[in-house]
Symmetry: C2
Subunit: 388 residues, 2 copies
């Protein structure tokens, strides 16, 4: 497996910025202000694990014209200087009395004003990475500059991926496919969920994943009761369905897909539910065409899930966007209404609770193309693989 080149060319960032600038002009913003790791990395290429420390706020301003302006703690200046960003302003952080507020206000006040409005990460499926009290203070201090919600615009910008981004997502999907293929060699009845998760975590690292922030490993008789917590200390037993899901990363891009394994002999009803979810996935993949909506993709899967005797679904949607985060907009659900376009990377994720507390969930990752979608994952086998 050839690893894609890490990072992106300055020309790629310049194209991202130019597109963002066109879209922010249409939406009436003089600038976007990014505070979160994903948006800052998307715009600058700046990578750091130091985001785990909540101590210091960081800002990157994308003005409507000109290059990005990084307004960041001194501690990160050497590495920001290694990106394509040329305009870097720093302050000695932490500095409780003023952790970058005055410096950022000065930058925003110095920008050309056409709309009198800056766009911030205030909307759905996002959280501002700075103290809200600091944001409110800054907002109150700026004269003639509105600090508005640019959530919908930011997601519209990030929802369509470049070919270079798609190459990164494809690579981590391939690593996870290879790791899942090794599960029958690594995991067997008698191990705990936690031991199974550890074995897969080590295999993912060995095969080249940078990190594995998301790795539920859940086993239950004939299916699982939930899919978001675990692993726990439950011992994997014959008759179980073992459910693995992983969001692992390569160079800042995620996969997000699951696989199911039959532990010895499992009930026929579980095998039938698995077969139905395999067919629902096929229908979801087939529906993911440019011009279709996320509602259409949902409908294609829901018809098969309902026909298979679903008791309901507490997940609330049947897949979502994917890229620099485990989940991104849009959502395959009634009323979402997003029109698919080429370059969107999506998960197809049908699930069924075929009996109380017994869920089977499938998931694949794809990119929307002019014709049929381009699968980024190797399709799960139609028959559930068995482990001993």
């Amino acid at each position: 497996m050839t690893e894609p080149k890490r990072g992106f060319e300055p020309a790629e960032f310049a194209r991202r910025l130019a597109r963002a600038q066109r879209m922010m002009t249409e939406a009436g913003f003089d600038a976007l202000v990014f505070t979160t790791p994903h948006n800052i990395r998307w715009a600058t290429g700046f990578e750091s694990q130091f985001w785990e420390s909540p101590t210091r706020p960081w800002f990157v301003v994308l003005p409507r014209e000109g290059g990005p302006i990084a307004v960041i703690p001194e501690i990160a200046a050497p590495q920001m200087a290694a990106t394509w960003v040329e305009d870097i302003r720093t302050w000695p952080s932490p500095r409780p009395a003023d952790d970058g507020t005055a410096l950022l206000a000065g930058v925003l006040e110095g920008l050309p004003r056409r709309f009198g409005r800056t766009g911030w990460e205030l909307g759905r499926e996002m959280a501002l990475r700075m103290p809200v009290s600091q944001f409110l203070d800054l907002r109150g201090r700026l004269r003639g500059i509105d600090c508005a919600d640019a959530g919908a615009l930011i997601w519209a910008i990030r929802m369509v991926k470049t070919e270079a981004e798609i190459g990164h997502i494809r690579h981590i999907c391939t690593i996870a496919c290879d790791a899942y293929d090794r599960v029958p060699d690594l995991v067997h009845a008698g191990m705990t969920e936690r031991e199974a998760a550890r074995a897969l975590r080590i295999e993912l690292a060995r095969l080249g994943a940078d990190s594995t922030p998301f790795l539920p490993a859940i086993a239950g008789p004939g299916g699982v009761a939930q899919i978001v917590c675990g692993p726990n200390d439950r011992v994997i037993a014959p008759g179980d369905v073992l459910f693995f899901d992983t969001g692992s990363t390569f160079d800042g891009y995620w996969c997000d897909f699951d696989r199911n394994y039959a532990v010895g002999q499992i009930p026929d009803a579980a095998l039938r539910a698995h077969e139905a979810m395999w067919r629902a996935t096929e229908a979801g993949i087939a529906a993911a065409r440019p011009g279709a909506t996320t509602d259409d993709v949902h409908r294609a899967m829901a018809a098969i899930i309902d026909a298979a005797g679903s008791l309901g679904n507490n997940v609330g949607r049947l897949g979502h966007g994917l890229g620099m985060q485990l989940t991104e907009p849009p959502s395959h659900m009634p009323g979402d209404g997003t029109v698919l376009t080429e370059g969107m990377v999506l998960t197809i994720e049908p699930g069924i609770e075929y009996a109380p507390g017994r869920m089977i969930v499938h998931e694949e990752n794809l990119v929307v193309r002019a014709g049929p979608p381009d699968l980024l994952t190797r399709r799960a086998p139609r028959e559930m693989p068995r482990i001993g």
Copy 2:
């Protein structure tokens, strides 16, 4: 190495809540509202890797009297029901038109009112995990209930750890010590920083770390230029200092400490800087007594760092709090002014830039006790270990 029991007893959570309730009464809050993974887990024990998905907001309300109230997406109800929390309200999320706002408003309006004020995660070193636009909408909707910043109170509550929490931190510190001890067997000149990081990442998982979100691995001739980014593709070469830092976790609790390795023969100036940082660490450890301030701890280290010929320091502090996050308040720095008390878990982290672009940074983790502090890490060797 015996693994501590995962999770905590209901009695432990009840004690945490009772202390928080006393402190919120003193501070004049009718309730605290938590939206972030760490605070929610601290109060409830609820654990999930699903926090990686930014789609759904979550809320846990700690009223001034009575048990916690979880206001959460349906998808998480089965697992929240397995915690000590008895009052769980859910809505079908994602639901863009109202993602929990009305439900949460109803809960807050139903609480007994003494101060007319609820406390939120709005302050320093924290970021609200919900869309700010949703927060502002809720704040505008509540009549007679202020949504105020409770940042300082929340950090005061979390800053002092229980013995059970300390046991968890000690365990992950021991795992990381054992992994660092193996570095001379795992890493050698000719590997890239990235390969070195991968080897340590696998070793940490093998020894029992649940996850390793933070693992810079940086090599530079005689020292490193920065300590927050990397690993990169640099090939580790004789004459380098190889710097590893890790925040790894066990059951939701972090270690945060580093180690330095000499690759073959390194300059005498680097060895002298290392020796000075070892002594600065000793001084920092000795200063961490109840009644001392974080300024005192800083001063004890800074004297030795300055005497060793420091060119400056872009980190801005010489250590910090540690627990459910990689870094937590307080900060060892002038003006922080936090008075140390028993049960605080702290890092001692002196650093020096002894020549331009050549930094040496040390770090240990400890808990403040009535007498001398209790080291959670095995002290780094006074002489830098060598790798071939």
